[in-house]
């Protein structure tokens, strides 16, 4: 019973992270029909950026807290934030110029944009205060600093996702899918090796500062300690998934996303800005992966170097989750992630721990043979 419960908790905690990563794979596949192999590297980037921010700000229980050598990353991030804010203001000004006399109506999309801006600005202001040595006590609150790191990692990786899409994938919109796949592999190699540079993250494994207490369980059921990191991690992941589900199925932007994934040409004829939708899809996927990276680092603080095979394998498992759930289907990716987590952890606990990856890939092949479109996916018709 004890073992069962512990396995269940771990499986759900890690499975929800798989689901978060799988969402990025599935959204990109749904729209552009290619496997974004660089996605797992964005996930790694998220983990490492949150590590850098936490260390630079001196949060958590890191041994060399407040490492001064790393504070430059904060400056870079604030510069990026300021640039984003300035460009947003410029955009607003341009909108005003185009629509003279129109009152600025705060619809749902704009409201969400304002929320993001406020959060980012809040983060920047907080960071400046932190830099000036004004704030100490906030950082000691794991929840608060965790939220800030999460935001920071998500925005940075979102930006990276945007840049990658514009520079590497957009020129290939009309190219055969194989070429895009190769480009994705190239981007993945690029990110891995950039991350390994001494100027970036280096080749040494690091320990992620844990922000949440590791010795005080939230509750104890049948001798199984339920840790805050599991609960909060899974809750964050699930909250983000609900947010995404809301965005995709309930908002105007989500409708245009679904339209593009259904048929890009027709969508563009209906006045949907296809390129912008694709960009935003990449940004969202990258941000979700970054969140998963941060949460994974909190659960397993041993942070491998950026090019370690472990990361790639994690990304692959998330991809398997996307396929099992039905690639291109957002709710399928969530289901698949949880399913993969359960399979992996129960297989490891009850059958053989060394073979944990074999279960996942065997399930993949089984699903593909029996139901290639995945659990929730629609079978695709072949057109001549």
């Amino acid at each position: 019973m004890e073992k069962f419960l512990q396995t269940l908790i771990d499986a759900l905690a890690v499975g929800s992270l798989y689901a978060l990563i799988a969402l990025g794979y599935t959204m990109v596949y749904g729209i552009l029909k290619f496997i974004n192999f660089a996605h797992s590297d964005v996930f790694v980037l998220g983990a490492w950026i949150s590590f850098l921010v936490a260390v630079a700000a001196g949060w958590g229980d890191h041994v060399s807290a407040g490492d001064p050598g790393r504070t430059w990353i904060l400056w870079v991030l604030w510069a990026a934030t300021a640039a984003a804010a300035v460009s947003a203001a410029a955009e607003f000004g341009a909108w005003k110029r185009r629509h003279p006399g129109d009152p600025f109506v705060l619809n749902r999309t704009r409201f969400a944009g304002v929320l993001v801006l406020v959060a980012v600005w809040g983060w920047a202001a907080f960071g400046l205060a932190k830099m000036a040595g004004l704030v100490k006590v906030w950082g000691d609150n794991g929840l608060f600093s965790g939220l800030l790191i999460l935001l920071c990692a998500m925005t940075t990786c979102g930006l990276v996702g945007f840049v990658l899409e514009r520079l590497a994938y957009k020129p290939l919109r009309k190219a055969p899918r194989l070429n895009v796949l190769i480009t994705a592999i190239g981007v993945s190699l690029l990110l891995q090796n950039l991350g390994q540079l001494q100027e970036m993250f280096g080749t040494r494994p690091q320990r992620m500062p844990t922000l949440l207490p590791t010795d005080q369980p939230l509750a104890t059921i049948a001798n199984v300690k339920i840790m805050p990191v599991d609960v909060i991690g899974a809750a964050t992941a699930i909250a983000l998934m609900f947010l995404l589900d809301f965005l995709v199925h309930r908002t105007k932007f989500g409708r245009s996303m679904r339209a593009v994934s259904y048929n890009p040409t027709t969508a563009s004829l209906m006045g949907i800005p296809v390129d912008r939708v694709i960009s935003v899809t990449f940004v969202i996927g990258a941000a979700l992966a970054a969140a998963a990276g941060f949460l994974y680092g909190q659960k397993y603080p041993g942070l491998n170097q950026a090019a370690a095979a472990v990361w790639v394998l994690l990304g692959l498992k998330a991809f398997v989750a996307a396929v099992v759930g039905g690639i291109g289907n957002i709710r399928g990716a969530m289901l698949g992630g949880i399913l993969i987590g359960l399979l992996e952890f129960f297989g490891a606990a009850y059958v053989s721990a060394a073979m944990r990856d074999v279960y996942v890939f065997s399930l993949l092949i089984l699903v593909l043979l029996v139901r290639p479109s995945g659990i929730l996916g629609r079978p695709m018709l072949e057109k001549v």
Binding site: K33, F34, I35, A168, P171, L172, A175, P176, R177, L178, N179, V180, L181, I182, T183, I185, G186, V187, L189, L190, Q192, N193, L194, L197, Q198, A309, V312, L313, L316, V320, V323, S352, A354, M355, D357, V358, F361, S362, L364, I365, L368, L369, P372, E382, V384
Partner: protein
């Protein structure tokens, strides 16, 4: 007026010319391989001999993957798994076979399978024969796996098949990585072990099971102690055979069926091609050569057979070679394999690059003048500009290497970054690869390039 049958008999070549025609490339291949082994190696030195060895293995891998990805159009991203199967089977046969037959694994090979100069051994020994047998056995084992992987192509197409090959590769890797049998060192140790573990499942209680010999392959630590039999002779013999088979396959009825599947699966099925059977066949043939390459890789000097290194990143390496060369081009895959293998070495040690950089500078200047001239006379300049960019990039690399060396950095640290950038740029600028579907000796390839350079800039469209 002769009948068709009579004309066929008339046109049929005699026995001797036919035999000569089919055998001479093989003889030539053996000759080239022997020349490389005994005359080229002392000239180019140990380091470049090793690079040449790696190039040969890469060429076999790339050309074999061309048969699946290039000819048949089935996207396989688990090619390293075949290599791993071949490597482990071949390594196991050589290692444990040498222990049993010779009592020792330490360098039982003759001069043909040695990368070390001046050893006092005969030209060919029993060890070489064992090695050759093991290569074929490794290839056959890999081909069997290729059959298993090819079967899902019955139901799956495109990306889904690619994912299955990826999953298969990962399963093979994890299975080898997670087995725990240490490599055995002596014949006495071997005698205590069963060959296959199935019998002991029925005869002994489970807590007395010992790891059978076929599973004593080192697990995650890698298969250590393999003798270094892979020499320029064996590798380039393999390259020759692979190229020959690939070329003849492409020209044969089977190859044309492959190509038709690549171009349009439904149409080729309508024309009576049994698409499933041919797809499986492509997988089997490709897997065989990948297995041979795996055997050669396993016995290469400076290599320890390790499942961690043959994961899907290795598969990606092979795919990159094939795509850079142009999907469907044998010579393209071979040349790209050579480039991809040699480029990181050059960047690691850019001294040769630095020596030739004035040549690049001259080329760049010439091209610049040509571009200006072409632009002034209204010719199409885009391809020229692309070439100029490539040359300038190489030039920049040369200067970068000098600057980096002056600043105390090694360009080798950045080689994978440059490599990844080159890959992305290649996909954007010339997505069909270096040669497209054509071979380097196809005149249409060069005619197309020449025409694209000559054609006036009328429409201002994209260059092909």
């Amino acid at each position: 007026m002769s009948t068709l049958r009579a004309r066929a008999i008339e046109l049929k070549p005699g026995l001797l010319p036919a035999t000569v025609r089919s055998v001479w490339p093989l003889v030539a291949g053996i000759g080239i391989a022997l020349t490389l082994q005994f005359f080229a190696k002392p000239v180019i030195g140990d380091f470049y001999a090793k690079v040449l060895l790696d190039i040969g293995t890469s060429i076999i891998l790339a050309v074999s993957l061309t048969m699946v990805n290039g000819f048949t159009g089935q996207f396989s991203i688990g090619h390293a798994a075949f290599m791993m199967v071949g490597g482990y089977v071949s390594g196991g046969i050589v290692y444990y076979g040498s222990l049993l037959l010779f009592g020792d694994v330490d360098m039982a090979g003759g001069l043909v399978s040695s990368m070390i100069e001046g050893r006092d051994v005969p030209l060919v020994t029993r060890g070489d024969a064992l090695f050759a047998v093991s290569l074929v056995a490794g290839g056959l084992a890999a081909a069997l796996c290729g059959y298993v992987v090819g079967l899902p192509s019955l139901r799956l197409k495109g990306d889904y098949l690619a994912i299955v090959t990826l999953g298969f590769g990962e399963i093979v890797r994890v299975l080898i990585q997670s087995q725990t049998g240490d490599v055995l060192y002596t014949v006495e140790e071997m005698k205590e072990r069963p060959f296959v573990g199935i019998a002991q499942m029925f005869t002994t209680p489970s807590d007395e099971w010992v790891t059978p010999i076929v599973l004593s392959l080192g697990g995650a630590l890698g298969f250590s102690g393999l003798p270094f039999y892979s020499s320029l002779f064996w590798v380039f013999l393999g390259v020759g055979i692979t190229l020959l088979v690939a070329y003849r396959l492409k020209e044969s009825a089977t190859g044309r069926a492959f190509l038709s599947i690549r171009e349009d699966e439904i149409a080729s099925e309508a024309m009576g091609v049994n698409t499933t059977q041919f797809k499986v066949r492509a997988f089997v043939i490709a897997a065989f050569f990948a297995g041979v390459a795996g055997g050669l890789f396993a016995h290469s000097i400076g290599v320890q057979l390790n499942p961690g290194e043959l994961g899907f990143l290795k598969s990606f390496d092979i795919i990159i070679m094939v795509v850079l060369g142009g999907l469907g081009s044998i010579s393209g895959a071979a040349i790209a394999a050579a480039i991809v293998t040699i480029l990181p070495e050059l960047l690691r040690n850019p001294a040769p690059l630095l020596k030739v950089w004035p040549v690049f500078a001259g080329l760049a200047a010439l091209l610049l003048i040509a571009t200006v001239f072409a632009a002034a006379t209204g010719r199409r300049t885009r391809p020229l500009i692309a070439w100029l960019c490539i040359v300038l990039a190489l030039l920049g690399l040369g200067f970068g290497a000098r600057a980096a060396a002056a600043a105390g950095h090694n360009l080798g640290d950045y080689r994978m970054i440059l490599f990844a950038l080159a890959l992305i740029l290649m996909m954007i600028l010339r997505p069909q690869g270096l040669f497209g579907v054509r071979e380097i000796w196809d005149r249409s390839l060069w005619r197309g390039i020449a025409e694209s350079l000559r054609a006036p800039a009328k429409k201002g469209g994209t260059s092909r």
